[in-house]
């Protein structure tokens, strides 16, 4: 597991939480047992003090302003680090699937089917859990803009996997809002 970065501990900005939660949602769309896997990984990685059960895990993710039920408080740096580590471990677990989605060497028809399946599941999860009046959600569900945004999320998951993925993902989630 990668060491924590040396920069001081700051809470993740709201936009970073939004992106992290969407990446976790993509992991759930790729793996039907993704929700269970998150809880299991949290226990496996020793985060039971920070995220003792699925309700606490869900509450931290609800700091995403795009959610149907949102929470105003932001996760503490330790809690957001735990969520990033879970995302990193999920991305590692799903890496072959992420790779096959991103590869241009795959047969185009098969690749299109995989993307269609993933985008369909992601849309279902978005409709179920997210506030459909928010512009960010509407863009993800938009037939024109949605596919490129979904691809960006899959690309981000692929580059967040592996031993250096935690530090890379954390640094990118701390980016300022433009």
């Amino acid at each position: 597991m990668a060491d924590a970065p040396s920069h001081p501990q700051r809470p993740l900005p709201r936009r970073g939480i939004e992106r992290l939660d969407l990446m976790l949602l993509c992991a759930e769309a790729l793996d039907l047992n993704g929700g269970e896997a998150m809880v299991w990984l949290s226990e496996e990685m020793g985060f039971t003090d920070l995220l003792p059960n699925r309700v606490e895990l869900w509450k931290r993710r609800c700091s995403n302003p795009l959610r149907r039920t949102t929470r105003r408080d932001l996760p503490t740096p330790a809690e957001s680090d735990a969520l990033i580590r879970i995302c990193n471990a999920l991305a590692d677990r799903l890496y072959p699937m992420l790779r096959s989605l991103l590869s241009t060497a795959e047969p185009p028809q098969l690749s299109a089917q995989r993307w269609q399946l993933f985008e369909g599941r992601l849309a279902e999860l978005l409709r179920e859990r997210f506030n459909l009046r928010r512009g960010g959600v509407q863009r993800l569900l938009d037939p024109e803009q949605g596919p490129s945004l979904s691809r960006e999320l899959i690309q981000a998951l692929a580059f967040s996997a592996g031993p250096g993925g935690f530090e890379r993902l954390k640094a990118s989630l701390m980016d300022p809002v433009v």
Partner: protein, 201 residues
């Protein structure tokens, strides 16, 4: 005794060879002196080089992956460096310049999956405890606001300030056109009221 470490992903195989630097007190299973490396990028080419080439690759590819994660990939590595990488037509162009004269530079077009494989191999190499070599790379920090600015199209970026200025101008024009309410004429002075105060008895 020569040591060999291998790092493998689907489309990428990196192999480093070296010796332990016993004079620096390193263990006999730690590579402290890198004698060479080979990198097999499936479907592209097989490369071989020295320590400085591998360090240049780490220094160019990992910061590029960091920028890619923020959605703003830019060229990493100068023209004089042995390795540079830049976005090119939806792919990633890895440019390799040989230190041998009369050898033209090599440009490889990697897709996202191939680049992700290379990044994972380089991460494994950089964090391998069996390797005692410095791999310089800039600290992983949030990007600056100006580095992220071109993530949004210019029209979207200036739309909000333009609308603000427009609304301000419009409200200034509208308020200038509104007729001003003239002040009511002052009531005529009533000399009787002033000159003959009544005194109560």
């Amino acid at each position: 005794m020569k040591l060999t470490n291998r790092y493998e992903q689907t489309s990428c195989r990196l192999q480093v060879e070296g010796l332990p630097d016993l004079s620096a007190g390193q263990g006999d299973q730690t590579i402290g002196i890198l004698t060479g490396f080979s990198l097999d990028l499936a479907g592209h080419t097989e490369l071989a080089g020295q320590r400085e080439h591998l360090q240049a690759m780490v220094a160019a590819v990992l910061p590029y992956a960091r920028q890619l994660l923020s959605g703003v990939p830019r060229c990493c590595g100068a023209d004089s460096d042995p390795v540079a990488i830049r976005p090119h037509a939806g792919r990633h162009q890895l440019e390799l310049r040989s230190s041998q004269p009369d050898t033209p530079p090599l440009a490889l077009q990697l897709d996202d999956a191939e680049l992700a494989d290379l990044v994972r191999c380089l991460d494994q190499l950089r964090l391998d405890p069996r390797l005692a070599l410095p791999f310089e790379q800039p600290p992983l920090q949030p990007l600056r606001r100006r580095e992220l600015r071109h993530r949004q199209p210019l029209a979207q970026r200036i739309a909000a300030p333009l609308v603000g200025v427009g609304v301000l101008l419009l409200s200034a024009v509208v308020s200038a056109l509104l007729p001003l309410q003239r002040p009511a004429p002052a009531p005529a002075a009533n000399p009787a009221a002033v000159s003959s105060p009544q005194r109560g008895g």
